[in-house]
């Protein structure tokens, strides 16, 4: 019996060894990821679709908790036990991995041409010469509103800032609904759903963001203070005790139908679809005058790269090339409405709310959150400071000018833009 097992093992080893010589692709690839929410989608939809086309390659999706991911991944990479494919956080977290030699340069990968420079910027070196992760998905900011409530009050989704405040006033006057569901307790709501949501219209998206990095603009300039001034005006439209209202509180207020407008990120879509019992619509950040050029925050959120020490580089590249293909984009975007493909090929999506969000890409210019690239590298961390100051501005602890001044001072403390 023992001999039988031994000899069959031997045979298997020899055969698989032979097979790997014959088919270079015969491999099992492990994917590291923080998206444990998506496990079912990967197992049931994405991986079967890939394996059907590439019979030699098996894919193993092994996600972990989002909060543990960065630390655990660093440890695994350092000890050489990390998987073959690495889900990439945007910007510095992944750039650091690349600089340490853990990630392979993928600039010449098939399918990289399918992505715009903005999409790739999250996973490039500062000079944009090397790209080390395939962009997978982005999230778009805007406002989700309760369509039933709007119909009942005879309101239309606002396009300009005047209309926006008129709508808020009307909802407040009616009194049935809290005009806007947002709290400042968790700080990041104020910054991400507030400042970064409406900001691009003021600092003109990529132009302003790049000028800030180049040092040509400052956070104290009018176009950077303006979004703070706007969110300061939101205070009377928020619910009672918004200072102690947390992120889940805001979500629940909206999905229970108690609030009419929710400053959102598109990642909410699938959750809201299952929770809310009413019709929902979305409108983009309002512009100053009808017909003004509009900008949206289309923030690169997740990508995938290749472990430099993988035993199966060819197979891993084949998978990444597939991730860069329109086919993957279509599967992924439909399985996870709200995580939009960054692929230049337009993806047909079935979810109406997701369609609404993604349709803004046609009319508006996309940008990413202003604090993410390069500017949050030092101490004090600009992103964290922006959280605190956005909440301060809404709470009335700081004036918009004071907040902007604090941010710029913190940034000046360590950031010296190339002149």
């Amino acid at each position: 019996m023992n001999r039988l097992i031994k000899s069959s093992l031997l045979a298997a080893t020899v055969l698989s060894g032979l097979a790997s010589v014959v088919h270079a692709e015969d491999a099992t690839l492990t994917i590291e990821s923080w998206r444990n929410d998506d496990l079912a989608i990967w197992k049931d939809k994405i991986i079967p679709a890939f394996e059907a086309k590439h019979p030699g390659i098996k894919i193993n999706f092994t996600p972990m908790a989002p909060t543990e991911y960065n630390a655990a991944l660093n440890a695994k990479l350092a000890s050489g036990t990390a998987g073959d494919l690495i889900s990439c956080r945007p910007f510095d977290a992944s750039l650091e991995l690349y600089n340490k030699g853990f990630l392979t340069d993928l600039t010449s990968l098939d399918g990289m041409g399918n992505f715009s420079p903005v999409a790739k910027s999250a996973w490039q070196t500062d000079d944009a010469k090397a790209t080390f992760c395939v962009p997978m998905a982005s999230v778009i900011h805007g406002f989700i509103y309760n369509k039933d409530a709007f119909d009942k009050l005879g309101l239309k989704a606002p396009k300009t800032q005047d209309e926006f405040y008129k709508v808020l006033d009307a909802i407040k006057k009616d009194g049935t609904y809290i005009p806007m569901a947002m709290g400042t307790k968790d700080l990041w709501e104020a910054a991400t759903m507030g400042y970064q949501n409406i900001g691009p219209n003021y600092w003109h998206g990529e132009d302003g963001r790049k000028a800030l990095i180049a040092g040509k603009e400052k956070l104290t300039d009018a176009q950077w203070v303006a979004p703070f001034k706007e969110i300061a005006k939101w205070k009377p439209y928020l619910g009672d005790g918004f200072e102690a209202q947390s992120y889940p509180d805001s979500q629940n207020l909206f999905t229970l139908g108690r609030a009419a407008i929710y400053p959102a990120g598109s990642w909410e879509i699938s959750g809201f679809n299952t929770q809310a019992q009413f019709k929902m619509g979305a409108f983009r950040p309002p512009v100053a005058k009808d017909g003004d050029a509009c900008y949206i925050s289309d923030h690169t959120d997740i990508g995938m790269g290749m472990n430099a020490k993988t035993k199966h580089p060819e197979a891993a590249k084949a998978f990444l090339a597939w991730v860069a293909s329109p086919e993957f984009a279509s599967i992924y975007a439909n399985a996870l409405p709200g995580f939009f493909s960054l692929n230049s090929t337009a993806v047909e999506m079935k979810d109406p709310l997701a369609q609404e969000f993604v349709s803004w890409r046609k009319d508006c210019k996309s940008t990413i959150r202003s604090t993410y690239q390069i500017l949050s590298r030092g101490t004090p961390n600009l992103e964290n400071e922006t959280w605190t100051e956005s909440a301060n501005v809404i709470n009335g602890t700081d004036t918009p000018e004071k907040a902007a001044e604090k941010l710029q001072k913190g940034l000046d403390g360590w950031y010296k833009p190339a002149k």
Partner: protein
């Protein structure tokens, strides 16, 4: 064999044989304590003198400490955290410990009914995980779903309600009081035990001398439980300056609003492990940990040499 030889050479006035059993019995504790306490502590102190430059750690002497106290931003963060931590500690000393002593005094009244139930009920929160405590209190104090506004409205005091956890002026006090609520059982139990330890003869003698009721508590019992109160104070001090968990669960790692609940523990966490886009900085984290260690060491030494030694103890 060797032992015998050594003894015959050295021991002119015949000594006792070397008492190996002492070393053998101490060894497990010393080894375990060294491995899990002393080595990491030494490692942290060591790390605070280094700085990571392009992947390698280089020795920089006191540079990290100079940054922490000299750099405007670092110093502002640090002093803010220290100030909040001191307030956190003062609230515990002024609220938790007197309430603990009072509860223990009440519980030790011989004729009190349901004493066992009260004791258990008051001690119970101490056994709960801080995650649960934080979550429960966030719900209780929530302006949206919380029970507090409703309860206050029942007694027509709703105007007193505010989103305490979200206001820079009240958040730290609210968090401190949550912590007091959770840990008040510990001083209560320690003092209760100390009170039970007072022999009946002493109290009976006091009664014979006409000292009863409150004056008995102030004149007889309190002096006898002072050493326990000292121990509780020092436990509170160490616990408060190491605190992190409750603030983290209730207010998050940025300890908002506007850093008003940031204590040394949360500052250390953000620095060492990083947060969101902020990458972790091990050496600066170790520097803050070292300063925390020194603060606690100074406090404990002050207590030990300044107060503990002068305390009068009574033998029965």
């Amino acid at each position: 064999m060797q032992v015998e030889q050594m003894e015959s050479e050295v021991a002119i006035p015949r000594r006792q044989p070397i008492r190996w059993h002492i070393a053998v019995f101490l060894a497990p504790a010393v080894l375990v304590y060294t491995a899990i306490m002393i080595l990491p502590l030494g490692g942290t102190l060591f790390l605070s003198f280094y700085k990571e430059v392009q992947g390698t750690e280089i020795f920089v002497g006191f540079d990290n400490f100079r940054t922490l106290f000299g750099n405007e931003r670092w110093a502002a963060d640090f002093w803010n955290a220290l100030k909040n931590n001191v307030i956190f500690f003062i609230i515990h000393m002024l609220v938790q410990n007197p309430i603990g002593v009072a509860l223990a005094a009440l519980l030790s009244i011989p004729k009190l009914r349901f004493a066992g139930f009260y004791r258990t009920a008051i001690f119970l929160p101490t056994l709960l995980s801080f995650v649960i405590v934080g979550f429960i209190w966030k719900l209780i104090l929530s302006p949206i779903w919380g029970v507090t506004p409703y309860l206050l409205s029942l007694v027509d005091l709703k105007f007193l309600f505010a989103p305490w956890l979200g206001k820079p002026g009240s958040a730290l006090i609210a968090v401190s009081l949550i912590s007091v609520w959770q840990y008040v059982g510990i001083p209560m139990m320690l003092i209760y035990a100390a009170l039970l330890n007072i022999p009946d003869e002493v109290l009976e003698a006091a009664e014979c001398d006409g000292i009863t009721g409150w004056s008995q508590f102030w004149k007889i019992k309190l002096p006898l439980i002072l050493p326990s109160i000292g121990i509780i104070s020092i436990l509170t001090f160490v616990g408060n300056f190491n605190a992190f968990d409750l603030v983290y669960t209730v207010q998050g790692a940025l300890a908002g609003p506007d850093g008003s609940t940031d204590i040394l523990g949360t500052l250390l966490y953000r620095t060492f492990f990083g947060f969101q886009l902020q990458l972790g900085d091990r050496t600066m984290g170790a520097t803050i940990a070292t300063v925390m260690f020194l603060i606690i060491l100074a406090g404990v030494s002050l207590y030990l040499f300044g107060i503990q030694r002068r305390m009068r103890r009574y033998q029965f």
